[in-house]
C-alpha cells in the first residue's frame, strides 16, 4: 500500500509535489427505536467554522499512532456510552476543496475524511453532552441540511445499512441478548419499511435457517399470548456466513 515507488514516468518526477494530508474520521451512527418505529442517526452541532451552528456527523482528526478504526471508536465513545454496536468503514472522501479550511488556515494541507458507519443499541445508548455542544438523535427522514457533504454521506450510509441488514446478521449485534421474533421483525420493518415482508413469512424463513435458538423462556407484554425468547446462535450461523441473501 501507499505504493510510493511507482514513480517511473520520469516526465513528472519533481514537477508535481505531493500533497500533505490531515485525515479525519466521521461517523454515521444509526440506531433503531423499535418502540416508536424510527430509524435514527446521531448528529452533533458544530462549534467552529466552517459551518458553525450546522448539524454534522461526529468526527475527529486522526492522531499520531492511532489507527483509523481506533479514531472511529474514540469519537464514538466521546459521544455515546454504549456496549453493543457494529462498526465498519463506509467510504473515503478526499477530493480537494471539500473543506473550506484548505484554502484559508492550512498551508497546502488537505483534509481527507474516512467515514465510518455504525449501528448501536438504542435503548442502552447514553448521549454524552458537554456544556457547549448540541447532540441529538434525528429520524433519518427528518435530518436537516448538514455541514460539508454530510447529507450525501448519510444517503450512502443509509443504503449500506439496508444492504447489511439483508445479508448479514448485524441486527443481532444490536438487539438484546434475548429477543422475540416480533422484536426482530419490528427492527427490520423500521429500517427496511413496513412492507418488506409479511410477518408470518418472515418468521418461518428465519426459523428455518436454524440459527435462532429457542431459549424456552417466554415474555408477556401486556395482553396477548406470551412470546418465545430467542437467542442468536453464532455457531449455527457460521456455515451460512458466505451464502448470499440470508435474511429477508
Amino acid at each position: 500500500m501507499a505504493g510510493r515507488s511507482q514513480r517511473k514516468s520520469t516526465r513528472s518526477a519533481n514537477t508535481d509535489p505531493l500533497e500533505n494530508f490531515k485525515v479525519g474520521v466521521d461517523n454515521v451512527i444509526f440506531s433503531v427505536d423499535t418502540a416508536q418505529n424510527r430509524l435514527l442517526v446521531l448528529l452533533v452541532m458544530r462549534q467552529e467554522e466552517p459551518f458553525l451552528g450546522s448539524w454534522s456527523f461526529p468526527g475527529t482528526l486522526v492522531r499520531q499512532g492511532e489507527s483509523l478504526e481506533a479514531a472511529a471508536y474514540r469519537i464514538l465513545a466521546e459521544k455515546i456510552r454504549v456496549r453493543n454496536l457494529y462498526l465498519e468503514q463506509l467510504y473515503t472522501f478526499g477530493g480537494p476543496n471539500r473543506d473550506p479550511r484548505e484554502n484559508v488556515d492550512s498551508y497546502g494541507v488537505r483534509y481527507l475524511s474516512v467515514s465510518y458507519f455504525a449501528l448501536v443499541r438504542y435503548a442502552e445508548a447514553e448521549l454524552i453532552a458537554d456544556r457547549v455542544s448540541g447532540i441529538a438523535w434525528y429520524p433519518v427522514s427528518q435530518v436537516p441540511q448538514l455541514a460539508f457533504d454530510h447529507n450525501q454521506i448519510l444517503e450512502y450510509g443509509h443504503r449500506r445499512l439496508r444492504n447489511k441488514l439483508e445479508y448479514s446478521p448485524v441486527a443481532f449485534d444490536v438487539l438484546p441478548e434475548l429477543f422475540t421474533l416480533n422484536d426482530l421483525y419490528q427492527f427490520y420493518a423500521t429500517v427496511l419499511g413496513d412492507n418488506f415482508s409479511d410477518y408470518s413469512n418472515f418468521r418461518s424463513r428465519l426459523l428455518k435457517l436454524g440459527f435462532l435458538a429457542d431459549t424456552g423462556l417466554k415474555v408477556t407484554r401486556g395482553a396477548g399470548r406470551p412470546a418465545t425468547l430467542y437467542r442468536f446462535d453464532s455457531e449455527a450461523f457460521a456455515p451460512l456466513k458466505d451464502k448470499p441473501l440470508v435474511f429477508i
Copy 2:
C-alpha cells in the same frame, strides 16, 4: 467531513498531536481473458525498498490538488492503455505500522492507502512497460506473495468483483460494444466459476430482463450456427438500476 471541530473532551486538547499523512492510491486492476477462461490481475514489480523485487499493485502518492479518483486514473493510465473500464473505490487501509517506511525515512508521517478496484477490457489493454519495471497480468488463482498486505486487498477486491457482477452491469463496460450471449456467459463463468449457472437458463434470464438489444447481426466463429450479436441498452436498463440481484 474532516470534522476537526469535535475536540470537546478537554482532557486531550494538546496532549495528543495529530498525525501527518501522505495518501497513496493502489489499484486492483482486473481483466477477463475469455479466450483462455482466466481472471487476471495486474501486478507490478517494486523497484524500491521496502519490498524491493516483490510484486504489488500499481500505486502512487496523491499530488497537490489531485482528487483520489484522479490519482487512481493517473496510475492506471501510466500502466495500461485502455479505453473501456470500470473503476470504483475499494477500501482505505490506514493503520500505523502498515508501511515499514514510517519508522525510518519519514519523520512522523504516516502512509495511508486508498485502494481502488478496476475492471478493464482485456483485449484492448496494452501494458506499458518502461525499461526498469516489471509488469504483468497474473491469473488471480496464481498470484505470488505480494508486498505489504496486498494479498489481503486482492481477496477483498476479488469478492467485490464477484458481487458487482451479480447485481450491476459492469460486464458491459468491459465487453465489446457488440457481443454474443456466449461471450457474456463465458465472461461470467470465468469470474464466478463454471458452475454458476446453466447456459440455457442464463440466456433466458438475461433476455427476459429486456436490456439486451438484438442487433440483427450475426457472427460465425468456426463451425456451428452463427450467433446473434447483442448490445447493452442502457436506457432499457435504467429502471432496473436499483432493483436487487438482476444478474445471475
